[in-house]
Structure formats: C-alpha cells, structure tokens
C-alpha cells in the first residue's frame, strides 16, 4: 500500500493584485505531493513563484483557489508545524543564540527547563555549542543560518520549508551548510521543501527535483534522483548526478529564456 502523502498541494492557484488593480498570476494550478521524510528541491527561473510556493505551505500566503493539506488537514494559516528558514538573516537580534532557538517553545509556554534542553540539543546539532550567549551581530552569515535552522527544528515541525537558505553565503560555506543539513536530516529526519536557484544544491540535497515554469509558476517536470543516502560530495561527479544535472539545466534554461527577451530584441 502506498502511504498517503505528508504534504499535498492540490490545483493551487495564487493571484496577486498589482498596484494598478490588475490581477497578476503567480502560481497556476500547481499540484505537488511530498512524502514523509522526503527532501524535495524546487528550482526555476527567478520570479517563477518558488518562494510564493513555500509561503503558501507556511500559510503566509493564501491560495486563490485549490488547497494545501498537511497530514490530511487543510492549511489555513501559519503554524508551528511548518517551520521556515529564509534567505535573509531573520534571527531576532535582541535575543542570544539560545533565546532565538528557544523562541518557539517559549511561545507555547513550555517550562524553562524544557526550553533550555531543547535549545542546547539543537544548538549542539548545528555545531554551535559554546555560542549560546552570543548575539546574532557577533555571528557570521553561515552561523546565523545555522541558528535559523536550529530555531525552526526546535519547534519539531512536520515540514521544514527552506527558501534559498544558503543563497547569501559564499561558495565554501554553502557546500559546508549543505553537508551539515544532510547530516542534521540523518539525525532528525524531516520532510523538507527546499527552494534554490543552485542546481547542484538542488540535486545534492533532494530525493526529487521539481522544475517550475516561468511565471505564472507551474510544475514543468520532476527529476527523481535514485542516489543513495547518506550522500557525500563525491556523488556530484557521478554519472547519474551529471545526467540529472544536464536535464534540469536544460529545462531551467529554456524556462529562463521565455521570460528574458533575446539580446537582439533588446537592442532594437
């Protein structure tokens, strides 16, 4: 028997009202299933609605039509069961690393003891033990994103939504963070929806990679990666990885061209 999907998007459409009153479609009849503990990467040309997709699941954006179900329940508003990590640095600067990580448990009125324990466990997992008392301004970009991941995980969410979380980091730190994320996933497996514009990153992390079309965003195709876990960076040179990369790259390029006018037309 096939288990029911953890997360299901059914025929979801999102339209925004632009300043001058016109309706702009951002996502168009998109359906998507994510299995429990699966990592699904989403790539697509910029402005295709990748982030909107995550914000939909988070409950920060409402679908104009269609529905989103998590464990069978319709998602109507934001909730602690769907943690999110943003590209921009969203740590609360007035809280220490510890204060940030225990923000979620504290909101739910958990006793101090419990909050501390949860916080130290996840600070440990993201490799920041010893930095509990540090303020975000004392941390590097990579460290801040590690705290942001710990903060989301401390809530023990059903789904982790990651919106280009490593996009602002330098190349070396980014690779390190990807390995760290997989390492964390091995320790505390979560269902992860990972939006990125970095195709290597999408393939390295994901069990599946969804390619979105240019705006309005639809699912163009999915690439399934039958690569074993735990994964190491070596897989990036494997034939299966490279073949998948060629496919995704070709699709993304084609979609990107549909939004960008050709150079000759620009000159005219």
């Amino acid at each position: 028997m096939i288990p029911p999907p953890k997360l299901r998007l059914l025929d979801v459409t999102v339209t925004f009202r632009a300043r001058h009153g016109a309706l702009v479609p951002a996502i168009d009849r998109l359906s998507l299933d994510v299995a429990d503990r699966e990592i699904v990467s989403i790539v697509g040309p910029s402005g295709c609605g990748k982030s909107t997709l995550l914000r939909l699941v988070a409950g920060l954006v409402r679908p104009s039509s269609g529905e989103i179900r998590l464990d069978g329940h319709v998602v109507a508003e934001p909730g602690a069961d769907r943690g999110m990590v943003f590209q921009s640095y969203t740590l609360f600067p007035w809280l220490t690393v510890q204060g940030n990580v225990e923000f979620g448990p504290r909101l739910r009125g958990m006793p101090d003891r419990h909050c501390r324990d949860v916080a130290s466990r996840f600070i440990e997992i993201v490799g920041l033990a010893g930095f509990e008392r540090a303020y975000p301004k004392e941390l590097s970009g990579g460290m801040m994103q590690r705290v942001a991941i710990a903060r989301a995980l401390a809530n023990d969410p059903e789904v982790l939504l990651m919106d280009e979380p490593f996009g602002a980091l330098d190349a070396q730190t980014r690779v390190f963070m990807q390995e760290l994320l997989l390492d964390i996933w091995e320790k505390t497996p979560k269902t992860i929806l990972f939006v990125t514009h970095d195709i290597d990153e999408a393939l390295f992390l994901g069990d599946r990679v969804y390619v979105m079309t240019a705006r309005p965003g639809r699912l163009r195709d999915e690439v399934v990666l039958a690569l074993p876990r735990p994964r190491t960076l070596e897989i990036e040179t494997s034939e299966a990885f490279l073949a998948a990369k060629r496919r995704v790259l070709a699709m993304v390029r084609e979609e990107a061209q549909r939004t960008t006018p050709e150079p000759s037309r620009l000159r005219a």
């Binding site: 920060l60 943003f86 969203t90 600067p93 007035w94 923000f103 739910r108 301004k137 903060r151």
Partner: protein
Amino acid sequence: MSLARTGGAIARRRRGPLSEVLRPQEAIPRRTYLRILTTSAAALIAAWCVLTYGRLVAPLFLPSPTAVLATGVAMAQDGTLLQNAQASLLVIVTGWALAVLAGVPVGVLMGSFKAVEALIEPVIDFVRYLPVSALIPLLILYIGIGPAEKIAVIFIGTFFQLVLLVADVAAHVPHEQLDVAYTLGASRSQVIRRVLLPATLPGVMDTLRITMGWAWTYLVVAELVSADRGLGFMILDSMRGLFTDRIFVGLAVIGGLGLCFDLVFKWLHRVLLPWSPKA
C-alpha cells in the same frame, strides 16, 4: 574586475599623509583621529585668544576666555546659573518626556498599521511644517506665560516629529522577522509584543536622542519670547545690559548640557541594548 584593479593601484601608489587620511569612508588610525580632533579644538581656542588678548575685537562683542571663565565662576557661586539651568531643565525634560510617552506609542501604531497611518497622517503632515515658534502667541493666549506654556511648546515641537520618526522606524522592521515569528507559531499579539516592539528599540533610542537635541532649540525660542527665568531668558537679559560675557556663559552651559544629554543617550544605548548593531 576593473574596479578591483583600480583599487589595487590606489593601494600601491605612494601618496602623502593628507591623501591617506582623505580617502572616502576609509577608517583612519585612532591616534590620527585624536590628533586632528585636539588640533581643531586648540586652533579654535587659540583663535579666540588671539582675537581677544590681541585686542582685535572689542570685549563688547567677544569677551576673552578668562573673562568668560571668571563670570561663569561668579554666576555659579551666586546661584544664578543653577537657578536658570534648573528652570530650563525642568521645562525641557517634562515637555520632552510627555512627548515621548505620547509620541512613541502613536508612532509605533502609525508605522505598523496602515489604517492608523491613514487616520493620523493628515493631522501630522499639516502640523509638522508648522514652526512651533508660530504657535507661541496662541499658546501664551491659551495657557499664559508660565512654565506650562514652555512645556507645551516643547511638547508640540517634539511630539509630531517624534511620531513620524518612530513610525518610520516601525515601518522598517524587516517583514521576514514577523513572518518567521508566525511560522514559529506566534499569534498576532505575540508577534507585536515579542518581535515588533523589541525590533524598534534601537531606532526609538536614536529618535529620543535626536529629538532631545531639537527640544533645546524650542526651549530657547520659548524662553526668548516670554520668560522670567531659564537659560534662554538669562541670555536675553544679559543682552539688555550688554553683558556679553554672561551671554557666552549661557551659550557654554546650553552647549555643555546638550553634549551631556547626547553622551548619556549613547551610553544608555550601549548599556540597555547591547545587542544593537549600533551599540
């Protein structure tokens, strides 16, 4: 790429010390900074000495440093300085504190809720371009010429500017910080209390410091128009008797007090908000 190459060339080429110091936005050694600072202060005092002791300017227009110092000591000893400074401080702190108590909440609401912004913007936008000095006759008519009138001048002068500055601070709280709090399970009131309000603190602290500076201007204007005590009154009264040295003492005290307030606010920022990037 070409930019990087140009930068390298600048770094390599040998230049004089002046050119080293005058590179835009570039940090300079602390010792160099202090040296320039002391030179500047010394030059000012030297110029003052030359002009007065060299009898280039009549004492009626510019009294000598020693004369000002002697007058200052005498005024401190006979109590005039303390009495006038107390009167001014009472007015300025009361007026400013009332404006802060009323203006900060209104500003936060205005910056956070578009509906509140639409509600109060018409009033604020009109009054903010109205110089407080233009309102003084009306305030005298309504309230009289006692301390209450001067407190009102400072309140009105500070309140409207404060509301706009605080509203700007609140409106610039990063939206993602609110979003992330929602995804961590925060209710709307939790987002306001636990994210929006603490996020505005550094900006509000800056605003308090800036508006306190402006409050001094309004105070002196109010005291020049109508007062029987206060530092502004002291200056005006000294002018009537052509006591230029007393005017200079008044200016020095006002400047000194303003500087003190500024330093206290900067210190408070560091102590109360150690997490702030500006602390």
